[in-house]
Amino acid sequence: MANEKRKNLTPVQQEYHLFEKERETKRPIVRNCARAFLVGGIICTIGQAISYFYMYFFDFTEQTAGNPTVATMVFLSMILTGLGVYDRIAQFAGAGSAVPVTGFGNAVISAAIEHRTEGFVLGVGSNMFKLAGSVILFGTFAAFVIALIKTIAIQWGGL
């Protein structure tokens, strides 16, 4: 993709791109990855603790504890987003706070809060999934295709 774009540039533009690149502040990739690892790991550990909580204090099994755990994580995400903390964590953590399900919750909730000024129907309702929608769309469609192929393979491919 990047190469295709580059082909459309004039020589002057290409020269400038190189000129600019040299002076651009680089993204601190190693530091960002370390932070993502740390924060992402902590969030998953919290998730693990919550799922143990549901297994020991309620009668959830290891398989079924996932659902209440996810719901609890999204709830925590709502609180942190509403208090204006989640975006601060994210500037530090990058993908560490975006990739866990709390990041999905944050995407939905931040959009919902942001567009409240346009009303609950046209604002909150229509904008809630403006960021998270693509995750649902592509997740669902990919799952559909994969499950379909698998089902067909099992039924007609003769196990």
Partner: protein, 337 residues
């Protein structure tokens, strides 16, 4: 009078009789806090939406400038201003409050100098006694429109910039006392094929260089003519890139006398990454800070080059590159003029 290709020289040297600058909480913690007329603790300004708060910023700055100039609202004959929000509603709604004949101008973050150049041109030729010009932006209103919801956890790269919450306004008149506008160079759109909306400085630098070069060429002067050449919102990266480009093009420029509004406004510790940006950035720094320094006699001649990136969220999503522009205005105070 046109000089060279695209520079207007104003024989009557219109005067900036009064200026005003209003800022938000982030600006209150910045380096130039003392140069603002009002600073707001609350990002909402007591309104129920960011867009309304944005409008109030401009209204306050406009009324403050009128008061300083000792003008009734009715004396302001034209209003030339703009902002970054869709269809420029904050400025237009403020114009509804002010009631003056109104020209909305859009030059993204270069709007401040676009408005000043036009105001100077009109007053120079007797088109008006008083014109109010300015630009404003509101951090979260702009973030909401151009990027993500403000509470969304998206990590910004070190090349990103922080949109200024504020409004800067000037009243231009053919007569009176104050800094005088002597010339203006209108920029053309320069597109170097940059696509990263989180690196505006890198995209805008060539536009600033193009306009500065054109100005110096048209006026047949060199950079040392000015005590200060100040760009709008190039930020750390854009400033360095433009400085190196100018030198590469054989323009000798003193690093001390080449500053950027986006680097002047905040303190070093503030989390603004590469610097400040937004339509208000150049407006509040030039009208609030630099013109005060001129009045104090610290600067005699400055060239204010406001830079703007003419993209929209839509054009970015459609994989368009970022076209940029810069307008330069020469301002003098005292000296032999």
């Amino acid at each position: 009078m046109l000089k060279g290709h695209r520079t207007w020289v104003f024989a009557n040297k219109p005067v900036i009789v009064a200026t005003a600058a209003v800022g938000g909480p982030f600006e209150a913690n910045g380096r130039l806090a003392d140069d603002f007329d009002f600073l707001h603790e609350d990002l909402w300004l007591g309104e129920d939406s960011y867009e309304k708060a944005h409008r109030v910023l401009f209204e306050e700055a406009a009324f403050q400038a009128m008061e300083k100039a000792g003008l009734e609202k009715e004396k302001v004959q034209f209003l030339i201003a703009g902002d970054l929000i869709n269809q420029m509603t904050p400025t237009s709604f403020a114009a509804r409050t002010l009631g003056a004949p109104y020209l909305g101008v859009f030059g993204a973050c270069s709007t401040s100098m676009e408005g000043l150049a036009l105001s100077a041109f009109i007053t120079n030729y007797g088109g008006a006694d008083y014109i109010l010009t300015g630009a404003s932006s509101h951090n979260t209103a702009v973030e909401k429109q151009f990027r993500y919801p403000t509470e969304y956890g998206g990590q910004k790269p070190p090349t990103a910039q922080w949109t200024v919450t504020g409004a800067g306004v000037a009243i231009v008149s053919p007569k009176g006392d104050g800094p005088r506008v002597t010339a203006a160079t209108i920029g053309r759109v320069v597109d170097m094929g940059m696509t990263d909306p989180f690196n505006m400085g890198g995209a805008m630098a060539p536009a600033a260089v193009d306009t500065i070069e054109a100005h110096l060429r048209d006026m047949q002067i060199d950079a040392s003519h000015y005590d200060l050449i100040v760009t709008g919102d190039l930020g750390r990266i854009g400033r360095q890139v433009s400085l190196d480009l100018l030198r590469q093009h054989g323009i000798d420029i003193d690093e001390e006398r080449y500053q950027d509004c986006g680097l002047l406004i905040y303190r070093d510790g503030q989390p603004v990454l590469s610097g400040a940006s937004g339509a208000a950035c150049s407006a509040v720094v030039i009208y609030g800070h630099l013109l005060k320094r001129m009045r104090r006699g610290e600067l005699k001649r400055i060239l204010a080059v406001a830079t703007g990136a003419l993209l929209s969220p839509l054009s970015f999503q459609q994989n368009e590159t970022i076209p940029c522009i810069a307008h330069a205005v020469a301002i003098e105070y005292g000296g032999e003029a």
